[in-house]
Amino acid sequence: MKQHFALIALLVLFALAPLAAGPYLLSVLMLVLYMAYLGQAWNIMMGFAGQLSLGHSLYGGLGAYVAAALFAQFGVPGALGLVAGVAVAVAAGAAIGALGFRFGVKGVYFALLTIAFAEFTRVLFEHIPGLGGPGGLFLPVASRSGVDLLYLRGHPLMFYYLILAMTAGIFLLCRRLLDSRLGFYWLAVREDQEAAAALGINVFRAKLWAVMLSAGLTSAGGVFFAFYYNSLFPAQAFGMGRSIDIILAPIVGGLGTLFGPILGALILTPLGEVITWGTEAMGYNPAGLKQLCYGLAMLGIVKFRPDGVWPWLRRRLGWDGEGTP
């Protein structure tokens, strides 16, 4: 019960935040929600089904590029582009998953396969001149006011509530998934694939569902990113750095838990902002210093809370007994 209260309180807090927060704080909160959303999407594949993907930027980038290119080149509304982008990403996820699982590519090897596909696609997109190549793809911005959910154009506040709704939605979806038959299949596969197969679970299908769901949800996040920031570069959209950003929140927060990605995002994004603020306040801010501090802070978290912060916090709060989100 306490957990539900905490969750509802968090949601209300986020929903009311624009009343008090200025544009800067709002953009930070938006980043928190965005990281939590992507982290949760990745969590489905790794945390629930136990399949390590280190190339998740591929799905976000595909969704972003498909929707953005359709809009920029043909004026297709963002909401329709979203459908197309998600479809492409789900197909890509299915193809990579099928390839990997059918040929028994496991563990580290599967992770490297996902990296290889993401990197391959990055270089490929850098060589498609119609999409801007390495110079990037830019979305025309008519106005930053109003609310147009069909074209995904409008006021930053619209994007804020959009990502809040997406994050709340993925949280509810994951909650339902964990209680579903498929969710139990995933946990069985994660813990012991051979045993799961022996029980009659179609392991291949269960894993494929995880990849497709995770890919589709991640690509929706990518579409959001493209239409909010209005620019896309292959080196960023498909880069290793993006993949690492995606997986940091759930790992720091607690892998396989529902709260983990949110908590991780709530820790990491403000941490980055505080470091930026700190280095600027010192008046000494050479390139690399911020990331260096961030890396050192990450190292501390990884070293001292290797299972993630949420499982530890849950124990400290004494919330362990009552069902485990």
Binding site: M46, L52, L54, L99, G100, F103, G104, V105, G107, V108, Y109, A111, L112, L113, I115, A116, F117, E119, F120, V123, L124, E126, H127, M240, I244, I247, L248, I251, L255, P286, A287, G288, L289, Q291, L292, Y294, G295, L296, M298, L299, V302, K303, P306
Partner: protein, 288 residues
């Protein structure tokens, strides 16, 4: 085949031998310690900066400075394994990944702070010398680095086959429980192995600094490159790493020759995907 193409292939083979040494370091660490070193290229970039600093400030040829860099890197690797990585050896893969990636982020940005974003290259006096063999042209720098890389690789193979410590390390890789039962100090052997891996990185970095410029972005590129080579050749197979290095070296120049140099990594990744799917144990790896 035109002469130009043959020259290109030879260039690729020679560069590939240096890649092989780099990949050998990764293969040794993963084969024994079972930790995937996602900071491999970043460590290499640090070694390259070291070689650059020695060449610039002390006027020391990278070929001469190489043993020094390798020794320093051995000590760093040994300490890193003892102090940090060892507690992650039995943790799940994604935790090891995060640890190594965090280390990589720290290294990239530390080098960005120290050396700035610009490319650093080393000019040696014999930099533009070439050997002419009939119609073939072979760069002296490339030939020397390749010869040094090959020598070190062979010495390393000899170490693992012939010396007692090498055999002990292989025992840890083959059967960890058995190695403990007969009283091997696994922690120390792991640290030595990690040190050997990073020493390979140091030597390869010093040699690479003669062939390519180093900048902060070089690190991540070399990490991915070493992974491709090791997987293509077969993880744990040292001859596989040698073969994989040469294969990728040649594929890079061919991609540059027939298409665009900027597309060379795409080719390497395509080879990696094919190998992972069709022959996941690698070209020379034993069936798992």
């Amino acid at each position: 085949m035109s002469i130009d193409l043959i020259n290109q292939v030879i260039t690729g083979l020679l560069t590939g031998l240096v890649y092989s040494l780099l990949a050998l370091g990764l293969s040794v660490i993963f084969g024994v310690v079972r930790v995937v070193n996602f900071a491999h290229g970043e460590m290499t970039a640090l070694a390259m900066y070291g070689a650059w600093a020695l060449a610039t400030y002390l006027d020391l040829d990278p070929l001469v400075g190489m043993p020094l860099i390798a020794v320093v890197m051995f000590v760093c690797g040994y300490g890193l394994q003892r102090g940090l990585v060892d507690s992650f050896v039995s943790k799940p893969e994604h935790m090891q990944f995060i640890l190594m990636v965090t280390l990589a982020i720290i290294m990239v940005n530390a080098s960005l702070l120290a050396f700035g974003p610009d490319a650093h290259g080393i000019q040696v006096s014999y930099g533009f010398d070439t050997y002419e063999i009939g119609p073939l042209l072979i760069d002296k720098v490339r030939l020397l680095s390749a010869a040094a890389a090959l020598t070190i690789s062979l010495l390393l193979m000899g170490f693992f086959r012939l010396t007692l410590m090498g055999k002990a390390i292989r025992a840890c890789a083959d059967n960890l429980v058995g190695a403990r039962v007969i009283g091997l100090d696994v922690k120390r052997l792991y640290a030595v192995t990690f040190g050997i891996g990073t020493a390979c990185v140091g030597a390869a970095g010093a040699l690479l600094s003669l062939l390519i410029d180093v900048m902060p972005a070089t690190g991540p590129e070399l990490t991915l490159l070493s992974f491709i080579i090791v997987i293509v050749g077969g993880l744990g197979s040292m001859t596989g790493a040698l073969l994989g290095g040469m294969l990728i070296g040649v594929s890079e120049v061919l991609a540059g020759y027939f298409l665009m140099p900027s597309m060379k990594s795409m080719f390497s990744f395509a080879i990696l995907i094919l190998v992972l799917v069709l022959r996941p144990q690698g070209l020379l790896g034993a069936r798992r």
